[in-house]
């Protein structure tokens, strides 16, 4: 019997020894996993943005971009996120919407900026979309709903225009699953707290849009596609209450109202 236990132990040790040795190898680099993923993501992101962009009016105003960049830079630098990798686009649209495309393209509609009462609310939405990008939710969602083979065929130009439009619609108009949305919300709260921005304002924004949702919701895409906004507001508040945040303004007093004026 003692012999059996010794042999079982040796077998277990052998398994973990092989695992330990194989763990020393950088397989991702060896199989070029990250390189392949990054290049596919880059091609997809640029392709989707070009197609989406062709049918929309992008805001190129320097003053608008300067103000938006200040907010983005503040959140990125407070959270050690490489700001250069994020491509911010502001699109003129009556739809309250913001979304992330592959390869870190962050698209924010003018109507969404307009519906924010202060910079913290806008930072909350930016933080939420950045969280989707940082957690790789965009590619995960695409692979899950579209399939890797179709995504690769899109990058090689073998997929039809209809299919590509379908994918863009999926990215711009439908939410991630509940678990990923919650993860993005909680991460956004962490980003905001590290950036000394009060996350309660983000919860207020969700609650306010959630109320509008019941009346006229034709243009409230960001809320319509993110279910249970009241519930989200609740758990955001619960999460942020645990940490006391000394909020500090990111922009100068008049900058946010100036941003809204510039977009009108």
């Amino acid at each position: 019997m003692k012999n059996i236990f010794l042999q079982i132990s040796l077998l277990v040790i052998l398994f973990f020894s092989v695992l330990g040795v194989l763990n020393q190898v950088d397989w991702l680099q060896l199989f070029r996993v990250e390189k392949i993923t990054t290049s596919t993501e880059k091609k997809l992101g640029d392709l989707f943005w070009d197609l989406y962009h062709s049918s929309k009016d992008e805001i190129k105003n320097d003053s608008v971009h300067r103000i938006m960049d200040s907010l983005l830079t503040h959140i990125c630098s407070s959270n050690q996120i490489d700001k250069k990798s994020i491509k911010l686009h502001i699109v003129k649209s009556a739809e309250v919407n913001a979304f992330a495309l592959p390869n870190q393209h962050l698209v924010i509609n003018t109507a969404l900026i307009d519906s924010c009462k202060n910079e913290s609310e806008l930072c909350g939405v930016i933080g939420h979309e950045m969280a989707h990008m940082q957690h790789d939710h965009v590619m995960k969602k695409l692979i899950k709903e579209i399939g890797l083979s179709l995504l690769i065929s899109i990058t090689t130009g073998n997929a039809g225009a209809e299919k590509i439009n379908e994918v863009i619609k999926l990215l711009t108009s439908s939410a991630y699953d509940r678990k990923l949305e919650k993860q993005a919300d909680i991460t956004a709260v962490d980003y905001l707290e590290k950036s000394t921005i009060n996350p309660a304002n983000f919860a207020n924004f969700l609650a306010r849009l959630g109320q509008k949702e019941t009346t006229s919701s034709q243009y409230l895409s960001w809320i319509n596609t993110h279910p249970d906004s009241k519930e989200r507001a609740k758990y955001i508040l619960e999460h942020c209450n645990k940490m006391a945040v000394k909020a500090k303004p990111v922009l100068a007093d008049s900058s946010f109202s100036q941003l809204k004026k510039l977009l009108q």
Binding site: L10, F15, V18, D26, W27, D136, H137
Partner: protein
């Protein structure tokens, strides 16, 4: 790792065939159910249950085949659910994942080679005892 021992009774042709089939059963199931680790175990378990009242030689080999599948079940199940979590959740492919899957693959290949070798030799009437598994089988399978 694999020892060729003399069995204390000379098995009949019918016993040899059944004992050899217990290994083949796990191989066929391995081909059919490669992504689903439970299938291999179920196949050998069903074969074992069907022969638990068989002769000692048949029972002994069914038990050894079952034990080999049982240990791989844990290894393969962990790998299977890890893969599922990569496909359906936020879990990403990592160096640890690839290392684990390669380790599981190496152990599966060794098990498969040992199974094929044992199935062939058992069919010839030889009694093959695996290192570790043979001793466990001797401990739990009595004449």
């Amino acid at each position: 790792m694999i020892a060729l021992n003399k069995f204390f009774v000379e098995p009949t042709e019918h016993e040899i065939e059944k004992a050899s089939n217990s290994y083949l059963m796990s191989l066929i199931a391995l081909m059919a159910g490669l992504p689903f680790p439970i299938i291999n175990l179920l196949a050998t378990l069903i074969f074992y249950l069907g022969n638990r009242k068989g002769t000692y030689f048949v029972r002994w080999h069914c038990t050894q085949a079952l034990l080999s599948q049982l240990s791989l079940l844990f290894v393969n199940s962990y790998g299977f659910w890890w893969t599922i979590s990569i496909i359906f959740t936020t879990e990403k492919i990592s160096n640890h994942y690839i290392a684990y899957m390669l380790t599981a693959f190496v152990f599966n290949v060794f098990e498969m080679i040992a199974t094929i070798y044992t199935a062939i030799h058992t069919r010839k009437g030889k009694h093959i005892e695996w290192w570790c598994y043979g001793n466990i089988t001797n401990a739990i399978c009595k004449p």
